[in-house]
Amino acid sequence: MPRSGLLDPQGTAIEHALTALDFGGVRKVRVGKTIDITVDAASEQEARAQVQAMCDRLMANPVTEDYAIDSVEAA
């Protein structure tokens, strides 16, 4: 997700469009991305650690983005 406080022009554009479509009460729209990853790991903890390392190294740029690992499930 774009860091809070950082201008998110995509979110703003969607916010305006929703208002134009008469959806009332839209306070804020932020646009991020979801990445689905399947990994081989011995445990949920290990999988989470792997994905966290991937996020830190490649998937998120801390200058503008925050990330959260949503859920880790056995496939």
């Binding site: 201008l7 022009p9 995509q10 554009a13 740029n61 200058v63 503008t64």
Partner: protein, 220 residues
């Protein structure tokens, strides 16, 4: 001087950059991104384009190309390194320059000549200009909005590392109208405008030519 123009899959300003460097009298050669060395180049140029289709974030995947270890070594050794447009994005992703380039505030791809003011002549690429000189060069990008935290921006200003600033029209919403910055040592420069597309009157401007003189003064 020997110049390496690095080609990534999706680079599209490589030929222009090579030609601009060659026209300035340098021996310029392409280096494929899988290469692990720069062929003894004195100057490295990361050209514009859309490396890896801008997937994930512009420059995020290219920065892990094998050649980038050599580029980082070259840059950290204080040797002249220029990133234009996508090249600037790659230098930021590779942490060779601070900050990041994000989606233009307008959400539109912007392709037009812009005016920038030269603010620092203490780089190998801008030593041929006068401080305060105004240059016209084209921009062509969808993700050129320079962002960094306030402390970083203040530091860049304080250390005289804002190399180019948009004058009059800021085409992408860059913080503090920043169009180009330099590393601490001044040898690494990233810029969104395309100097290689402004090297002849026929192209509408030749204001970018002096960038390719690469300052005989290589103390940087």
């Amino acid at each position: 001087m020997k110049v390496a123009v690095v080609r990534f899959p999706g680079s599209n300003c490589d030929a222009d950059a090579l030609r601009a460097a060659a026209s300035a009298g340098h021996q310029a050669e392409y280096v494929w991104h899988r290469s692990r060395d720069l062929g003894g180049a004195d100057v490295v140029i990361l050209p514009g384009g859309f490396s890896y289709g801008d997937y994930l974030r512009a420059g995020a995947i290219a920065r892990f190309s094998p050649v980038m270890k050599a580029v980082a070594g070259h840059a950290r050794a204080g040797r002249p390194t220029l990133g234009v447009c996508n090249g600037f994005q790659i230098l930021c992703e590779a942490h060779l320059l601070p900050g990041q380039l994000v989606r233009n505030e307008s959400l539109s791809f912007v392709c037009k000549p812009v005016t920038v003011e030269v603010e620092s002549t203490s780089t190998p690429f801008t030593a041929g200009y006068e401080g305060g000189q105004k240059l016209v060069m084209p921009v062509a990008h969808g993700e050129g909005r320079y962002v960094a935290d306030e402390a970083t921006l203040d530091r860049l200003e304080r250390e005289g590392r804002v190399v180019f600033r948009y004058a009059g029209c800021n085409p992408n919403g860059s913080l503090r109208d920043i169009a180009g910055i330099a590393s601490e040592e001044g040898n690494v420069v990233g810029m969104m405008p395309h100097p290689e597309r402004a090297v002849a009157d026929l192209l509408g401007s030749e204001d970018g030519r002096a960038l390719f003189d690469f300052a005989a003064d290589l103390k940087h």
